[in-house]
């Protein structure tokens, strides 16, 4: 396990080294139109991994997710999402601490206590009604809020869209949410598998629409990921996304 982790770290370090010079030159020679929030110097490799992940989804994860969607009522899926969200409490708690956000950490602690007890293991969410709305954070966002740049776009095998910063964040999130695996590997597998399938079931209409409505699905996802992560890094409050660059709304004239 330690070995796996250190080799993952080595891989990321390598990606930084390989990707950063390309990223830097990309910025210099940036085409005049393309926005630089979605630098993608490794597009060739990324597209291949994206395709691999999509096959994995289409042949395995999506059919299981659709099956689960078909047999389960919405209320069950909603409650399960809440349960898994509650289990991920350590991720948000620690991320708030990394951000030096004591209020946020306290709020998360309050939510976890209330929802685990009154909310029956987190299947229900009375805390929100009591004014504990929770925070929007993870380790990648916390690093971003400290000013760490995301780096170039990166598709991770199985895990999907990311960047070097968020990959580091993902490792942190994984360690922090490994509680169930500590009980036993079987419990860990059930929790992780269940979370994935329930999430995929909930995302059925979203992903179907995205594939259908996009002209280039790969670019659609890349841009959506970059925009979403950037806005969340910039926002303190989950409902207060920062404005996107102002020149986005400037009309270019003919001359």
């Amino acid at each position: 396990m330690t070995r796996l982790r250190s080799s993952a770290l080595a891989l990321i370090a390598m990606l930084w080294v390989v990707a950063m010079p390309a990223y830097a030159s990309e910025i210099d020679s940036k085409s005049e139109v393309e926005s630089n929030i979605e630098s993608d110097p490794l597009e060739g490799m990324n597209r291949r991994l994206f395709w691999f992940n999509d096959r994995l989804d289409v042949y395995i994860i999506e059919p299981v997710g659709k099956g689960w969607r078909w047999i389960s009522p919405q209320s069950v899926r909603t409650s399960l999402s809440k349960f898994f969200l509650n289990l991920r409490f350590p991720v948000r708690f620690v991320s708030n601490l990394i951000e030096f956000n004591a209020v946020g950490a306290g709020e998360e602690l309050g939510r976890f206590s209330v929802n685990t007890t009154v909310g029956i293991l987190g299947f229900f969410d009375p805390a929100t009604g009591w004014g504990l709305e929770g925070t929007d954070t993870d380790v990648g966002l916390a690093l971003g809020r400290w000013g760490m740049p995301p780096g170039p776009y990166l598709i991770l095998p199985i895990f999907g869209p990311s960047n070097p910063r968020d990959t580091l964040g993902l490792i942190g999130d994984t360690v922090l949410s490994s509680g169930p695996s500590l009980i036993s590997p079987a419990v860990g597998a059930i929790v992780n598998g269940g979370e994935l399938i329930n999430l995929r079931a909930e995302l059925v209409p979203v992903i179907d629409d995205a594939k259908e409505a996009s002209f280039d699905y790969y670019v659609f996802v890349r841009n959506a990921y970059a925009q979403n992560r950037r806005a969340r890094v910039l926002s303190e409050n989950p409902d207060e996304a920062e404005p996107i660059e102002d020149d986005l709304y400037e009309i270019y004239d003919d001359e």
Binding site: Q74, P205, F215, A241, D246, I251, D254
Partner: protein, 207 residues
């Protein structure tokens, strides 16, 4: 002479006054009110049980066509590529983009998937360039809590939708990125071809 001149001024004044009275309700409408009204209209159409599918789609389209500034959106999406397009290609892009939005969004907004969700207008923010962003949130259903912002711009004293930002993802920026990729990979005419092809597919599936 003086008499006629003052009469003319008077009648001009009267016309101006009359015009401003008519225009008043429109001016008084702020961006937030427009969004709230539009959302109410959409929910009303979605929740009326006796409408046929076609009637519902037509009504939703009418609402969208009255509230979206498709031409400006198209220009923003094309950004600096705008100058690479001939006037005919620009018109075609606008038409196809409009078609694209109404088929994809029209499908998303249908009665089968409508589960009495409501839309709450949570805040509005004045942008530096005079636009207003109106923030909304979906309440209830599978999409509970999803954030949708509308960037509004005033044009001829009417507030029109310039961009839709779903879960912090701007539609204009997302399309801009995709269109840019298509144009730089294979040129303007191939990009338009892809747009037409995609719309034809969507139309075939919708009917």
């Amino acid at each position: 002479m003086i008499f006629t001149k003052s009469m003319m001024t008077n009648s001009r004044l009267a016309i101006a006054l009359w015009a401003s009275l008519i225009a008043l309700p429109v001016c008084a409408e702020d961006a937030r009110t427009v969004v709230t009204q539009t959302m109410d209209d959409v929910v009303k159409v979605l929740s009326s049980p006796d409408l046929s599918i076609d009637a519902r789609r037509t009504q939703l389209e009418e609402i969208a066509y009255a509230r979206f500034d498709f031409e400006r959106m198209s220009r923003l999406i094309l950004a600096r590529n705008w100058k690479k397009l001939s006037p005919e290609q620009r018109d075609e892009f606008t038409v196809e983009f409009k078609k694209h939005l109404s088929t994809t969004y029209g499908k998303r907004l249908n009665a089968d998937t409508y589960r009495n969700e409501t839309i709450e207008v949570t805040a509005d923010r004045k942008e530096k360039n005079g636009d207003v962003t109106v923030k909304t949130k979906i309440i209830g259903g599978a999409a509970d809590g999803v954030l949708i912002d509308y960037r509004m711009r005033q044009s001829d004293s009417k507030w029109l939708v310039l961009d839709v930002i779903i879960e912090r993802v701007s539609l204009v920026q997302n399309f801009r990125s995709q269109i840019q990729e298509l144009i730089s990979e294979s040129g303007v005419s191939k990009m338009l071809e892809r747009l037409r092809e995609k719309n034809a597919q969507a139309m075939a599936q919708a009917s």
